[in-house]
Amino acid sequence: MTGFVCDSIGFSYSTRDGSIAALKDVSFTASGHEIVSVVGPSGCGKTTLLKLLAGLLEPTAGAIRFSPGGNGDRPKRALVFQDHGVFPWLTVLDNVAFGLEMQGVGVRERRERARHFLERVGLVDFADRHPHELSVGMRQRVGIARAFVSDFPILLLDEPFGALDAQTRLLLQEELLQIWQGERKLAVFITHDIEEAILLGDRVIVMSGRPGRILEEIHVPLTRPRALAAPDRPEVTEVKWHIWHHLEKEARRQLSIPE
């Protein structure tokens, strides 16, 4: 089964003022077809964690083990970025097909597969447009489409809806769940939005401020498939406030609001 184990990983980087620890002693596992949400205050190293999982950075302590673990068959991970993750010089179609291009899929086939996916999510009319002609929300959908079309077993999403207005965000959350329901990959979803973490995740990992550590791992009391209104249920509200109490201290500190 596809999955990974983070074994007390840490990450620190050096600056002029010495070494700064971004992550400390982070351990968790993920496997199968689940969505793991990671929520934490801004600057807690969530994005660093995701880059470590993507292999763009190497942990300075501990290790990440993937299964299957062989060098060649280690599961590929597709990143979905916060913003600006799509290439402005490629059309929507070629952006979506970019991951397939890297895998050596011929131009005709990858365009066909990308077009097929765009049809499914209703973006096919924009296939030949460039990203600057699209709204921010649509650009994010293109980034998500690229990750799904590449068909990597693990998805890493870095606050993909962070820059969107509330309505757009709600619709895209729903769409993401819908696509995921059909494709069933292992996904790590990073967000600073507690409700989003609960709505999307099977588990929520709550992180502290810098250096980022795991404060608690919470099982989300919701079944799948889920409805948009799910977070209104009382047991979910309880989880929400539970997480909020974890994060409140850090949020106040960052804003200099006394407790």
């Binding site: 880059k51 993507a54 763009l56 590929k76 991970r77 597709a78 990143l79 970025f81 600006h84 993750g85 290439f87 402005p88 010089w89 490629l90 970019f98 991951g99 291009e101 890297m102 895998q103 460039h130 990203p131 600057h132 590449s150």
Partner: protein, 274 residues
Amino acid sequence: MAHLAPPRERGATPVVDPRVRLAAHREAVPWWVNPVVIVLALTLWETLVRIGVLQALYFPPPTAVGRRLFELFADGTYLDHGRTTLYRMAFGLVVGASLGFFLGVAMGRSQPLRRIVDPIISALYPIPKIAILPLVMIYLGIGEASKLFVIVIGAFFPMLISTLTGVVTIPSIYFEVAANYGSGPLHLLRRVILPASLPTVLGGFRIALNSVIHITIAVEIVSAVTGLGSLVWLSWETLDVERLYATLTVIAVLGVVTTYGVNRLSRKLVPWRT
């Protein structure tokens, strides 16, 4: 205030903030204004010469310049010299811009190379290129080679600096996306580095073109017996002011046409920046 305006009716013109409308009006100068202004200015010039306010020897009337222009085209003078000048410009631009581009990409991607070469570039860049012509002639002789060398240098620097800037300022997220999907170095160059830096690179190419026009004419004035620049100098030496004006007109047209061509090309190559 736009939001206080009455609701728009179907088919009615859009309600626009009056300030926006003003700005739009200010820009709407009809196309024929420019040619009319030019014709008026030329007519004024012609008249002032005809009634004797300006001396024809120093300010040849536009009709005389035009006649001269026609003659020099008809007898092949401009075609010969123009071809020589164009060839020098094209050679300098192609060779200099290519070298500048490749070194720019290499420096943009390699911090050590940048650290080593950057001070040298910074020291050489501000020297007016025409000033190194004597030195170059010591090594390459007074022939064509030293002229071409200086023109190449003229295109090289702006292209190098723009390409370097273009590559260094590519947002790191594009490299991360490419790395995440497993891009190799060549693919990265073709699919990310080239297109991402292209707008800045084309800006550099425009500056290189401009620089090449300047330096080619300057080199020809200083040391050539062929080319439009040499004609300018020859006209001064013989006090042939009509030919001076005519030749400058040819140079101006050459500059306008090539710049227009490069601008058109830019828009075609960078459709995502419109």
